[in-house]
Every structure is written in structure tokens, then in C-alpha cells.
Amino acid sequence: MGLGSIASRALRSNTLRPGHTNLLRRSIVTTTELRNAEAAQAQPETPPPDLPPRTPVAGARVHFPNPEDAIEVFVDGYPVKIPKGMTVLQACEIAGVDIPRFCYHSRLSIAGNCRMCLVEVEKSPKPVASCAMPALPGMKIKTDTPLAKKAREGVMEFLLMNHPLDCPICDQGGECDLQDQSMAFGSDRGRFTETKRSVVDKNLGPLVKTVMTRCIQCTRCVRFATEIAGVQDLGMLGRGSGEEIGTYVEKLMTSELSGNVIDICPVGALTSKPFAFKARNWELKGTESIDVTDAVGSNIRIDSRGPEVMRVVPRLNEDINEEWISDKTRFFYDGLKRQRLNDPMIRGPDGRFKAVSWRDALAVVAEVIHQVKADEIVGVAGKLSDAESMMALKDFLNKMGSNNVLCEGNGPNPNADLRSGYIMNTSISGLENADVFLLVGTQPRVEAAMVNARIRKTVRATQAKVGYVGPATDLNYDHEHLGTGPQTLSEIAKGSHPFSSTLMNAKNPCIIVGAGIFERDDKDAIFSVVEAIAERAKAVRPDWNGMNVLLLNAAQAAALDLGLVPESDKGIESSKFIYLMGADDVNLEKIPEDAFVVYQGHHGDRSVYRANVILPASAFSEKEGTYVNTEGCAQTTVPAVPTVGDARDDWKIVRALSEVAGVILPYDSLSAIRSRMKTVAPNLVNVDEREPATFSYSLKPESQQKISTTPFKAAVENFYMTDPITRASKVMAQCSALLSKK
């Protein structure tokens, strides 16, 4: 809740109700008048006709599942229509009244234990906790009366009794609900003169810092851990004034979503450990961008101060990440400051790198590329490449006569023809409609934590069944481990497996295939078995498409959209010139001894050891780039901080190189390259809109491959370290040392 909105509300009520201006001062009200229902009723009830329409708080929307269920309530005299079953607090939100609250959170269960949301309801003898009270037809809710105001002041006084009031040294200061709400709704003094209590701080691991004395016992963190993160570690211990949040036994919070408790804690009890005492939040510049550490494309805000990324926080996007992000997304940013490449470099005869000018570096590359045969040129785009740079790389190498451009993680022989064959057709939010999941060779918890959170949400809400085929893993919801290899799939397809009947009876079956399978030799065979299962279970219908692929990297979907498909799968082994564009997970052993390797990227990671020339590029936080997430939604990053040193945007480097090499690419602005992209894959420029795939696998030719019996492998070994940036991050290193389950 912003202070601004509260202030403007206060102002508005000030100007609109001249008769009630005394409410804004701290007035002493006689209780007889308050309690007296007749007196309240005697007041004229008609709302002043000149009231401007109020806008719902934070764009709250009402959705009526069936119109007969609409009821009308009155909030401060305004009639509002709401669906049955909404709470009083939600009704007030729709009426444009922001009710102060601490424990209520729209995505968590209702606890009703902070009492900050008290409002007056006509004919009710006491103020009611609006978050826990269902709205009833014709209810007359009053949020601005002296009684409501006094109730809030009282609650606030109690909350502040044991609160240390250490805002000057608190990292939450400036974005603290308690601070804002005590300014807006609290009294200006308290009457408590005893000593305050203090609580021992808990060690929750390398990510969440605790100052438990500040806790106001709202239990949001406990509910988050139990309901969303699925790790039952946190609890409310003790009672009365001895009550505290903790784990009782010494235990770290081993969840991939633990960072979100920092956001939901309304006070400074749980704050970010890596960000502790680094900056005050009002010094930060927020840039709305997206995350590239996995294929989900979570919406984030990059908070920076000067040239430094200070922290990453989530942005609301109901379709992708709701309002959560994974710990990797939230805390990997310190990797952006380490091991950066800032100058073009050439490896001298002595094996050491020498910093050179861009002109020299590009000249060397251009010279070498002209000396090799066209089919010995290979380009590899890395996990974090944006669509623009992949387009430029593909165009450039095509102009050089080579068609060997591939993207890491897509395997030697990807299927780029049918878009439905590599995106999540159900869409991430659509997963909530599924009632049976079949996970094939994918561990969503480490591959795409936000998709996993969706599955968990669905499983919790609707008791959806989950079957899992793959190596033993720790999914944080009930699931049935069906098997480890492709034979299980064949059994399900044939109907001889008990799970196939579950699948058959499902209304909306959802099959999710992990992108780790792309690397297998029998990939096509596995896909045809999975398609057979989908066929049997009627998973692909006009009204439901339950056939999904869960990608691993941010670049994968765009690469396939752009057709980054290698001509031959032996490309790398027989190459003489390799252009690695941020590709650090290629098998370096496969690169021939005499090949010339150009590494263009932002981190001195694995491939740098093999590179002959290094071209420094900017990271995702420093450039504008288009990424397509696993459900096929194109989104763009926005530069938040300046690039380091002499680094340049990836596509600009390729464009400059093309000029030096004499095969000029015809675009030299972002809009020009985007219109080029549009000709190849129009969905890439439809930013923020999910483009569903039109044709399903039915167009695919029969596969003649034989299925092998090798069990599926885990695609992600270490959740915290998957790409050059996370591998450079100290925090991620700590996490993988302390939290990864071995």
C-alpha cells in the first residue's frame, strides 16, 4: 500500500465531507453516540450525489462466475456489486477503499489475527475484522467512522507495544506496512511504558535475515511456507507475549521460494540478507524487466543505484509468476558484478589474453572467418541470448555461407517446425485447470520453480493427481513416482500401467515433458510415445491443450521460433571456426584442437578457457532484448544499469563484425532488427502477449526411432547454479553449499 494513495484518500475525504473534518484530527468521541444504533440510523443515509466514482484499489477486478450470485453491499454509502462469498475487505477494495491490513494476503489463507482491518458494520455491536467476515447482501459497511478509526488506532497501539521502533536501522524502512499504516491510521502516541520484549533471531539460511523482535505475529510467513512453498518448517511457537516465529529446532529454510517471505512480511522481521544495510529503498531506481535465469520469464523489477544492481524484486503478473519469484531470480544479481568481461581480448601465442581495441578484435575475427570453409563455421547461442542477437548471429553466419547455428539446450536435432512441439501449450496459468499431471523427465521444482508453484497450487486447490516419470526427486506435493525410464511411458501408452486409467478418466489431463529430453538420441521416439499417451487421454482437444514442453533456458523458445537449427548434428566436431555467443555449457572437449573459438559474452565462465578471441557483451540487465518464455510469451528486458567497460549489446557486436567481414547486415537499429525478426517469427514482436501454437503434433511425420531403455536424467543438477551469471554469484554459491539437498 502506497502512502500516496492513503494520503490522497485522506485529502479526498477532507474536501468532500466538510461536516466530518474533525475526524481527521484526533478527536475524543463519546462512546454512547457510537454504540447507539438509533442515533446512527437517524443520520441521513443518502450518499452525497456529487461523489466522484471511486476506482478499485490496485485495479482490483470483479469477476462474476454466475451473475445470479451477485450481491450488493454499501461501502461508506456507495453501492457495490460483488460476487457472493467475497469478504468485507474485498468488497471495500472494489469500492475503492483501502483497508489497512497486516495478516490478510490475497494468496494465502485467512488468519484474521492482526485485527488491523476492523471496520464498522451497521447493526453489528462491535467492529468486525473485515478480512475474515463474508460480505452479506445489503450490508452497510463503514470504513471512515470514528468507531473504525478508534479501533484501528487501538490495534495499532497494541502492535507497536512490543515493536522495537528501530526504523532508522531497519531495511524495511520506507517500504514497511507497519510504518505506512501507523502513519495513516495510527495514533500519534502510545501509552505503553513497560519494557518491551525481545526475541532471539533465527537462522533461516543465507537468504533471509531475521530480526524477530520486529515481528508482529501476522503468520503470513508461516502460511506462505506451508501453503505456497510447501516446506513446513516455520511455525508460531509459544503464546501470548512470548509468542514467536521460528523453526523450534535449528533448521534452515530449504525452499526455492523462501525469498518471497521477505516481500510478504509486512514489517522488517524478515529481510533480505544479501541486501542488508546495502541501500535504502528510496535511493533505488526501479526498472521493470524480466528474469532470464530460467525459461519462465518471471516479471521482475531491477532496483539499481547508479551503475549497480542492488536487488531484484518480483512484479505482479498473474499469467506467469503471480507475485512470487524463485530464490535464484531474486538473489543471483551479485553475479552481475563478478567475473565480467569488459575489454575485447585476443589470446596471444603465449596463451595469455591481451586487451585490444574493438577494431583489432573484430578485424582478427573477420580475417579468420574468411579463411575457413563455409561449412566449417558453427555458431552457438547461449542460454541467456536474446532473440535480437540470435537473429543477427543467424543472419550473419548464413551470409557467410554456414547454416550451422544452434542454441544451447535444444539438442543436436531440435524440432522447430511445429511450435506446439516446444512450448507449454496449456500456458502457465492454464495449469490450474488441469486435474491430472504427468511429468515426463522433468523436475519442475528445480527447472522452473514458478511452474512448480503453479502445479502445487493446483494440487492443493483441487487435489489434482501427479504422476512423475524420471529419477527420484523431491517434489513438494503429493505425487506418484511411476518409473524412471521411457519403458514406463510405453506402458502408459499401451494402457498396461495403472496410471493410464487415471489419465484416461481425467477431464483435463496435462502432460509436461522436460526439455532435458531434447538431448537424448531417442527424443523423437519418446515424443511419439508421449503423443500416443496424449491421444489416448484426449489431452489435445479444441478446448484444451494439455501437451506441454517445459523448457530450461530463457533463450530456447526464441531460438526455435527463429529457426536456430543446426544443419548437421556433427557441426561442432568438424568445425574450424566456432562462434560462441554466451554459450558456456557446450561440451568444450568436442571442439577440435585447431578450431578458432570466438567467445562473445558477459562473464568469464567456462568457455573463456577455450576462446581465442573474447568480445565483451552486456548482460540482460544492461540491454534491451526480447525473450520468449516457455509458454510462448514474448517479453522484453529493459536496461537498468550501464554496461561495464567496453562491452556492447550482443546484436550490435554481430552487426559490427558483419561490416568488418564485408557482409553488412541490413539493420542498425533495434526497431530495424525487430522488423527483421517479425518476418521470421511475428510472435516475437507481440510483446507481453502469449501467442498460442496453432497446429498440434498431428502434423508431425511418423518417427522411425527406437526407444532406448536409458532412464531419464535430471536436467538441472544444481538449482542455484545454471548459467554464467548464477555461477559467478557468491550468494548462489553459498546457497548451493548450504541448501542443495545432496
Binding site: 519494557t195 513446513q232 503464546r239 512470548g242 514467536e244 523450534y248 535449528e250
Partner: protein, 254 residues
Amino acid sequence: MLARLASQRLREIRQVIRQIPQTTRSLSTALNYHLDSPDNNPNNPWEFTEANKTKVKEILSHYPSNYKQSAVIPLLDLAQQQHGGWLPVSAMNEVAKIIEVAPIRVYEVATFYSMFNRTKVGKYHLLVCGTTPCMIRGSREIEEALLKHLGVKRNEVTKDGLFSVGEMECMGCCVNAPMITVADYSNGSEGYTYNYYEDLTPEKAVEIVEAFRRGEKPPRGTQNPKRINSGPEGGNTTLLGEPKPPPCRDLDAC
């Protein structure tokens, strides 16, 4: 000049602070978190005894099979009786396993209720009522006498492991205030008793302790020989006749 002013101000502030009596918080239960010790850590094996296992089954049968967690309090109580009056972490873990919830859910319950002891207590755990009626009738003196007699602090166990003294809030016996409760764990969960000793004086309380030490079981209830249960001293003084039936209804007719 400034320095003098400052130091004077400081002295004033100190004085003000000194005047505020230092309130010491005494919480009746121990810490709200667990510290590993040799006799209390999650690696110690812990199991219900065979006899208690049947009791566990009995208890679980009171609840629907999908609401096993409802049995948490009776099971913790049983575990506490079996373990000499206190609950080590491993016992709580065992209970969590039986009712199929995360251990933290059991810890939450065990820390909430002050009758679950999470640190060692004596074989006879003496709980002095500290709520207003008993306090007015002298519970503080009783506690003092007990502590002095046993030579321990509150929530500390005597060297021989026999006694410990704790505090409790009102146990509903105010009419016979002051009172103490003795939780007797000396005979495991079979011989477990939880008795009230009422109308005490400091001397009486010490006598009772001594009786326990000798292995006797002093009679529970009021220690004032002139009273019967909670009746007034020396017999009834009011309500001497038969109570009148309610005026509006003919009880015999129904």
C-alpha cells in the same frame, strides 16, 4: 559548559531510569526454541512403550482417520507421562510421525500449552497457582517456602531429581485458595496422578513435600480439616433448605 549540561542531563536520565522498577519477566514455560543437549536432541531414539502403543491406538480411534492430527494433545500428554514429566524433541517428532504432520505443527502445540514441559522436571512437579485470588491468599509465600525448602529456583530440579517447582495460572480452585498442584510422574504413565492441594499455608506445603519424599501419598483436596471439599469452614451457613424448583415449570410433569 555544554559538556556539563550534557552530563547533568545524562544524570537526570539515569535517575529517571533507576526509578522505574526493573520488571523481570517470568514466563512460566521455558524457551520457545530448542537447544540440543545430550538428553534432549533429535537423534535420541524415542518410542512409546508397548503398553502405551495400545493406548495410542485407543486414542487415535477417537478421531476420524483423516483427522489424525486431532490426537496431538492426548498423545503429547501420554508421551510426557511416559517420559517422566517432560517432552524431549524426539518424543515430539515421534508424535508427529504418528499423526502424520510436520514436526513443527507438534512443536507449535507443545510450546503453546504450559502444561507440556520441554525441559526436565522432577518426579513430583509442584505447580503453584499464581493468579490473583491465590496470590491474595498468599501463594507467593508458599512458593518462597517451597523454593527455600528445596533449595532450588523456579523450574529447576532438585539434585535428587525428585522435585521441581513451577508456576501455573488459575486452576479453578480459587474458592480454596491458595493451592498447588502436584503432578506425580514417579510411577510412569500408569501411576500418573495430578492432584490439587488446597487451603495451604507455607508450613503445610512443606509438610506435603516431605510426605512425598517419604513416599507417601498425602490426601488431596483441602488441607483445612474443618472444610469438606469447597464447602465453608464448619458447615453450611446459607442455602440451608432444599433449593426451590424453578417457578415457571413443573419439573415432575416432564
